[in-house]
């Protein structure tokens, strides 16, 4: 559970909001709030993770500072989310990674990239790494296929496990039943809301930034980022099927399914994260928990570099730079997977959980 002080502040604010309810048109948080008369620790943890940080309610708030009620929902909820990420981290020993997260993530990613690249050169020798290869299996002449698979899939599978454990702890604390998580209608609705980023919509007008101005910029940039990531993931999944099921080794043709998906995804990661970084830089710090910016920035850079090195590898795969780029890309992807459960990526897990809970409360329980 997050810290008492943050939970208490969230409860104080929700009691004020629940007596006002002017913001019900912005997002899911306020309709979810009105279903409750009192707020316990789990309720505010749930509501905080349902909040997409659009900030509409802050600029609309007649009780925002300097009013003596000092209501600042986005900041309080951002802080609470940050504590959620830390406290539900598994194994618990890694909770510390959420203190100064940006530095940790940067350090881990850089270290892993250096190690992977260094080992590649050390084991294969400069001549092999700098060779020019064409046709089937050319990547694997630099790093053997099995090595790539083990190096990437081990931390990835571990991340999935860590996500799952964290989600189940969160799910229990917000007072939901385990099976609700898999309720087909709730799950479908939640995935749809997440896929569209509906609640970055601010009631159809977008988020508020850099001040009380409504803008779709943040939603668009986030869509590029999220869908870019998902397309890259899809590309890798398809390639895995190609390799194991059909026995077709990479690299694939420019117009093959994995390469098209990966290219589109990579482009998404070149556009989305810089957009979000720019928005973050320009935005008003008041409705935000600026202490988490390090975590956000590290994660956005990580996604951007994943896309950039992936596309560079694609473009230069038939040159002598392929070996170096492959090693660097693998290092960054490895860093991404290793830091997945201990960085900003976890927001997707708890946000989706909160959306499922919201859909369940609204559409199923009725």
């Amino acid at each position: 559970m997050p810290e008492t002080e943050t939970l208490d502040e969230a409860k104080r604010i929700m009691q004020i909001c629940n007596a006002c309810r002017y913001c019900e048109g912005y997002c899911a948080v306020f309709p979810a709030m009105t279903k409750r008369l009192n707020f316990n620790d789990g309720d505010v943890t749930y509501l905080a993770n349902l909040c997409h940080g659009c900030q509409g309610c802050y600029y609309a708030c007649q009780y925002a500072p300097p009013h003596e009620f000092a209501v600042n929902v986005p900041k309080t909820f951002a802080k609470l989310r940050g504590e959620t990420y830390r406290d539900y981290a598994w194994p618990g020993i890694f909770k510390k990674l959420f203190e100064g997260n940006g530095k940790w993530v940067a350090l881990i990613v850089v270290a892993l990239t250096v190690i992977v690249t260094g080992l590649t050169y050390a084991i294969q020798g400069v001549d092999v790494v700098s060779g020019v290869y064409k046709g089937e299996g050319s990547f694997y002449k630099v790093i053997p296929h099995d090595v790539i698979v083990y190096v990437a899939s081990a931390p990835f599978l571990f991340a999935i496990l860590a996500f799952f454990v964290g989600l189940m702890k969160f799910w229990k604390d917000i007072g939901a039943k385990p099976m609700d998580l898999l309720h087909p209608r709730a799950l479908t609705k939640a995935l749809k809301d997440a896929g569209q980023m509906k609640y970055m919509g601010g009631g159809g007008h977008g988020c508020n930034y850099p001040d009380d101005n409504y803008s779709m910029g943040r939603r668009v940039a986030h869509q590029f980022t999220m869908w870019g990531f998902l397309l890259c993931f899809a590309a890798t999944s398809v390639a895995t099927v190609y390799h194991y099921v059909f026995g077709w080794p990479a690299p694939y043709d420019y117009f093959s399914v994995p390469v098209v998906l990966g290219t589109l995804g990579g482009i998404g990661l070149l556009i989305g994260p810089p957009g979000l970084l720019m928005i973050k830089k320009k935005a008003d710090p008041e409705p935000q928990d600026t202490k988490q910016h390090g975590m956000d920035i590290a994660f956005l850079w990580l996604l951007f570099l994943t896309g950039l090195t992936g596309l560079a590898l694609l473009a230069l795969r038939e040159t002598s730079l392929m070996g170096l780029l492959l090693a660097v890309h693998l290092g960054i992807v490895l860093g991404m997977f290793v830091t997945f459960p201990y960085g900003k990526m976890v927001h997707a897990v708890y946000r989706l959980g909160a959306l499922i809970r919201f859909a369940h409360e609204n559409d199923v329980k009725k």
């Binding site: 509409g56 309610c57 009380d212």
Partner: protein, 474 residues
């Protein structure tokens, strides 16, 4: 286009504008935008700073306007005739009927006009107060609406000076000459060709309220802006402008007695009265708590409480009623015994216990229904409780202190359909128009129907802006 908010006031003040607008709420914005779009140069004088700008409009939630069909924002038609019937009923005919009809008919395009200015409405969602058909709700409420207005002003090149309070209005006969404006300690004389008075009422001026209410006004809470001290209104009356209404007429409701002196807004309301027994500090009941559904009786309780000792009363419920009404911003005071509750509330305990025992004895059997008058009543108890009467017998017991919260005042300036301000000789002033709360008393002699103030402000604001711009440019 020139910069607005950060302009040195001296520059803004030195150059006489076509239209000077006193205030920066909904009515002022309606006037300013209309005048500016007609080509006039416009200067707005706002007494609040940027955080608290927009007068009482920052606390509003919706606008009641006439419409012939459902839209994305209202669930059905609200014809002018129905609007008229509603306002005639709440004001008890204490109105300028012709002006009321005119306002209602003109209100038809209010929502469309506001959308054009960038204001956003929300689809009907909760319909908390049963207004989803008659009123369109602003997305995020009044402050969000005001933010959109200010954005539009910036785009249009309307000058605004914040933290500038009008101390006096300078006139020659029935002609406006200049406003004396205090800004950050300095007094400026601001000339303009025309002026629109949209500076609100005087509900934050306790001394003035005392003229109508006597010393009990000391114990009133002000639900809205502390800036509404009525200086412009007072100055106009001193200059021979004709008044309308009386100082004690206002919209006031019962709100939580623990609310801040100013700016408590919507969240401080206490909606449990119909389910409760309301006692004064002596422990006695004084009015039928179950007379009608709450929104209809929302307004009278302010006045009822104001007439009790120390202008305070206490709504007492038991645990059966928890959850039947809107949650409150302050948690109720709670006890397992009525005597314990009375003690914590500061109410005479033996009397309150006896009052509630007598009430309980008078409660008749019936089918309780929280959502409509259910006929569950008392007998042999004075005053009677007509509906929702259930025994107060299931601890824990809860109590809410309630006080009168004043929303806005009705004493104002007499105007005609052109929003022209009248002088005491019954002739309109030459270059002075008024809109919003400062002239709402022309239509609202008493009583209130939620969202009407916004329509009055928008309709007369736009007319005032148009008239002033035309006058200034001729």
């Amino acid at each position: 286009m020139y910069p607005t908010e950060f302009q040195l006031p001296l520059t803004a003040f030195l150059e006489p504008h076509d239209v000077l607008i006193l205030g920066a709420g909904n009515a002022a914005m309606s006037a300013a935008i209309t005048a500016r779009k007609m080509g006039a140069s416009v200067l707005m004088i706002e007494s609040a700073d940027k955080d608290l700008r927009g007068g009482n409009s920052r606390h509003v939630r919706n606008i009641r306007y006439s419409h012939n069909a459902a839209t994305d924002y209202v669930t059905g038609a609200y014809e002018a005739s129905e609007y008229m019937t509603d306002l005639m009923r709440v004001t008890d005919g204490n109105t300028n009927e012709e002006l009321m009809r005119f306002m209602i008919e003109a209100s038809e395009d209010c929502a469309d006009w506001m959308i054009e200015q960038g204001i956003k409405f929300q689809p009907p969602l909760s319909g908390t107060l049963g207004l989803a058909r008659t009123n369109a709700f602003f997305l995020g409420g009044g402050k969000a609406m005001m933010n959109s207005y200010f954005k539009t002003c910036e785009k249009l090149g309307i000058d605004i000076v914040f933290e500038a309070e009008v101390e006096d209005v300078e006139m020659e006969g029935s002609k406006f000459v200049a406003a004396q404006v205090r800004h950050k300690g300095e007094l400026y004389r601001v000339e303009a060709r025309t002026v629109v008075l949209a500076s609100g009422g005087f509900e934050a001026n306790i001394e003035w309220l005392k003229e109508g209410w006597g010393d009990i006004a000391e114990n009133f809470l002000v639900r809205g802006s502390p800036m509404n001290t009525g200086k412009v209104l007072r100055s106009m009356l001193n200059n021979g402008a004709k008044s309308v209404g009386v100082p004690e007429q206002c919209h006031a409701v019962a709100i939580d007695g623990r609310a801040p002196q100013f700016d408590g807004g919507i969240s401080t309301r206490v909606d449990c009265v119909i389910f409760s027994v309301v006692v004064n500090k002596n422990g006695d009941r004084f009015y039928d708590e179950g007379e009608d559904i709450w929104p209809k009786r929302y307004a009278i309780w302010g006045r009822l409480v104001a007439k009790q000792p120390d202008q305070v009363a206490y709504a007492v419920i038991d645990s059966k009623s928890m959850g039947l009404f809107m949650p409150t911003v302050y948690s109720p005071i709670q006890s397992d015994t009525l005597a314990g509750l009375a003690e914590q509330l500061g109410v005479d305990a033996p009397t309150m216990e006896k009052t509630i025992a007598d009430y309980n004895a008078g409660v008749q059997p019936g089918d309780f229904n929280a959502t409509e008058p259910d006929g569950c009543h008392t007998e042999g108890v004075e005053p009677k409780k007509s509906n929702w009467a259930r025994k107060i017998d299931t601890p824990p017991y809860y109590g809410y202190p309630v006080k009168m919260g004043i929303t806005f005042t009705y004493l104002g300036l007499e105007v005609n359909k052109r929003a022209q301000v009248f002088m005491n000789d019954d002739k309109p002033a030459q270059n002075i128009w008024a809109a919003g709360e400062i002239m709402a008393g022309n239509i609202l002699g008493q009583g209130y129907a939620g969202g009407t103030g916004m329509a009055i402000g928008n309709v007369f604001g736009r007319i005032a802006g148009e008239e002033a711009a035309r006058h200034a440019r001729n």
